[in-house]
Amino acid sequence: MSLPLLSIKDLWVRFGRFDAVKGVSFDLRGGETMALVGESGSGKSVTALSILKLLPYPQASHPQGEIHFKGENLLEKADENLRKIRGNEISFIFQEPMTSLNPLHTVEKQIGEVLTLHRNFKKSQIREKVIELLELVGFTDAFDRLESYPHQLSGGQRQRVMIAMALATEPSLLIADEPTTALDVTTQAQILDLLKVLQKKLKMALLLITHDLSIVKKMAKNVVIMQKGECVEAGLTENVFENPQHPYTQQLLNSEPRGIPEELDPEASLILEAKNLSVKFARKSALFSPKTYFEAVKDVSFQVRQGETLGIVGESGSGKTTLAFALLRLQESSGEILLQGNPIHRLKNKELRELRHKIQVVFQDPFGSLSPRMTIAEIIGEGLKIHHPQLTFEQREELIVESLKDVSLDPETRNRYPHEFSGGQRQRVAIARALILKPQILILDEPTSALDRAIQVEVLEILRDLQEKHHLAYIFISHDLKVIRAISHHVLVMRHGSIVEFGPTQVVYEKPQHPYTKVLFKAAFDL
């Protein structure tokens, strides 16, 4: 057996008094793929960053451990020696393609910089090599792309440019930190395929950091599972997936959203109806020239019954969120919106305010949707103060306690502030705030996307229980097809603002009709 390319032994990373990584060890051989899996805060990114000493020293320190790369201990190397390895022998791809490219430089300049730094390329040679690299990462119009700026590229294209930059020096190890998390499903699949092909072609090792188990299954030979800074399980991917030993791994593997929603009562009354709903945004135009419009939502119609969940799927930019805001009348729109037969699209602000308690919303980001200056009780009780000002303090407290119990939170914690709660708990607070007004319909805009898998499942369970208990109607917006299948009765697929497919969930999932739906579903489930 040859020496491993990268070998980490008992690595510790400490920030101040907090240990982010506690004794992680693993070996990675040349040409192989290893996945580092864990939830947010498990220390997987910190581990990867410490390989190249990219952490904010001196706040961060390594009380113990060794990182051997080609037989040399990187932790003992001086900075100028490390620079020869960074981007040269070990390359890094970051999660956010938006911020990891310099917005003021062209594609050619960004990739060219790596070549001049590490390979001493002459100016004349650079262009040729950049074109070659761009073709390698799948640009068919490589020559035309040289002069492009990052904002002219899509997310997937940007990530390809990042990969081209990382590969420019033909590294022997590529570290990819959540390379596809910020991308749409269809693009995700393409990028992962590309990485796989390139890895074989260039015979490099790949250290893949991800929280998504389906990616691990598809890509990695070995897997290391981390929890709270510790390595809880490691081994061949097949073995770990088939026969997980550690309870945390088992929990992680069992946390796929599953189950189907309760059977729908065919007699259920109509709650919300949208007819030919459109939303237009005015584009910035020159003075005196006619205004042009961008249609974010085009001619959308649907119905939601009591106790029903309507899932809305689509990639980013498909108009899902805009549609939700239009339904809430937080966004100007044309067309009709009927709430229990009541034409709310015609109502003035004041009349609308009185009906608002019937239609409530939960947002994606559990950190942004709760005011940091109010206690949980104040946040939840706010709606009561607005709609039922006659309630006494005691009556209000009682209702708040009840709604906290509804979402399985300890009512004793109601006088705390949001920052003392985890993401999943905050999302439950947001649900409690919406439910305390006894709405008829709840609009959930990506309510689980910012949460870890295991917590996603919990939130979904709570939502399902609440639906059954209160006969709620949901409009559930998500890009995650597995989540949608687990909760919705009907599903509506959106693309570029219009509906491409609409039908009962099982029918759509089993026999998608539209070509776009077929591509979308294939990408999501083949991963």
Partner: protein, 345 residues
């Protein structure tokens, strides 16, 4: 019932951060002490005794008018307590307690060892000005009027600024556009000339000057608060409040204003500083408070006109410099305590 003052954890953390900044913390205490003392200037520096016991009666001349006849004098006018004749009359049948400094800001000391402005003596610790008035007494009253003017101006202009900025930021669009243009034009007016012209038409007093300055000083906070409101109106929790059915006022007041208050509070000490400086410079030029009123600017002007009496210029310079320095140090501490990069959840 015990009223429990409940600070939100963030406020508590900010206070702790401010407290840990010893320079700012001590500056705050020194400034507050000086200010509170100066609020009771009448009891510290006055030409009337605090208490008089005369003929088994107690008299409080600071609060009440007593004719000279009360104490056995000849006239119906108010007793001149600095007059030896009256003093002897009172001492004969009782006693009196004087404040530590026996001069008001406008009391002229006719009993000077040298022509006014006269040097510091035990009687006039910081000397007298060119009209024979005690400099220390004038300093205490002048400090009070400067700080009060600054605080009132800062508070009212902040309130107006926050309201205008909030409306602009929250509603945006045409409202914002129109307000911005109005402010641009308004801020282009030459304030100093206006004050000088107005000063020649009316005799300016404290409130008149305050109103005139207010016309222009409310703009300093507008852009800041506007930006905060523009940013915060798209926050998820603001949208959630809208979806809950909260009224516009409720949303602006309860959800967005606390954000804007951070920026506002950070700026307050500096605005206060600016207000004090403006009043001082107007007084220095002679367009400020009416002649005779105690003011630091007027003292500076006297110092400039009487270079042979350095105690005038020195006193005025050091007191203005110390006051502004204290406020800047406090402001610095407040700014750091509200800095989201330094004080986190």
């Amino acid at each position: 019932m015990i009223v429990e003052v409940k600070l939100s954890p963030l406020t508590l953390k900010r206070w702790q951060y401010f407290y840990a900044n010893r320079r700012a913390f001590w500056s705050l205490w020194i400034f507050l002490t000086l200010f509170i003392f100066s609020l009771f200037a009448e009891f510290i520096a006055n030409d009337k005794p605090l208490v008089i016991a005369y003929d088994k009666n107690i008299y409080l001349p600071i609060f009440k008018f007593y004719p000279e006849q009360t104490f056995g004098g000849d006239f119906e006018t108010e007793a001149d307590y600095k007059d030896h004749y009256i003093q002897e009359k009172i001492e004969a049948k009782g006693w009196m307690i004087w404040p530590p400094i026996r001069y008001r800001y406008d009391t002229v000391n006719y009993d000077l060892p040298s022509p006014a402005p006269s040097k510091p003596t035990y009687e006039n610790l910081l000397g007298t000005d060119d009209q024979g008035r005690d400099v220390l007494a004038r300093l205490i009253y002048g400090f009070r009027i400067s700080v009060l003017f600054g605080i009132i101006l800062t508070l009212i202009s902040s309130i107006i600024g926050v309201i205008v900025g909030g409306i602009q930021g929250y509603f945006g669009g045409t409202v914002d556009l129109v307000c911005q243009r109005v402010i641009e034009i308004w801020s282009g007016l030459p304030v100093l000339y206006l004050l000088i012209i107005m000063g020649s038409l009316v005799e300016p007093n404290f409130w008149w000057l305050l109103g005139l300055m207010l016309l222009f000083s409310w703009m300093s906070l507008v852009s800041l608060v506007r930006a905060e409101f523009l940013r915060a109106r798209n926050f998820d929790y603001v949208k959630a409040a809208k979806a809950l059915g909260g009224s516009t006022f409720h949303i602006m007041f309860r959800h967005i204003l606390p954000n804007a208050m951070v920026a506002t509070l950070t700026y307050l000490p500096f605005i206060l500083n600016g207000a004090i400086t403006t009043l001082t410079s107007l007084d220095f030029l002679g367009f400020g408070l009416p002649p005779g009123s105690p003011s630091l600017g007027e003292m500076l002007a006297q110092g400039k006109n009487n270079l042979h009496a350095p105690w005038l210029g020195m006193t005025a310079f050091f007191s203005v410099a110390c006051m502004l320095a204290l406020l800047v140090l406090i402001g610095e501490g407040v700014r750091d305590a509200f800095d989201p990069r330094k004080v986190k959840f």
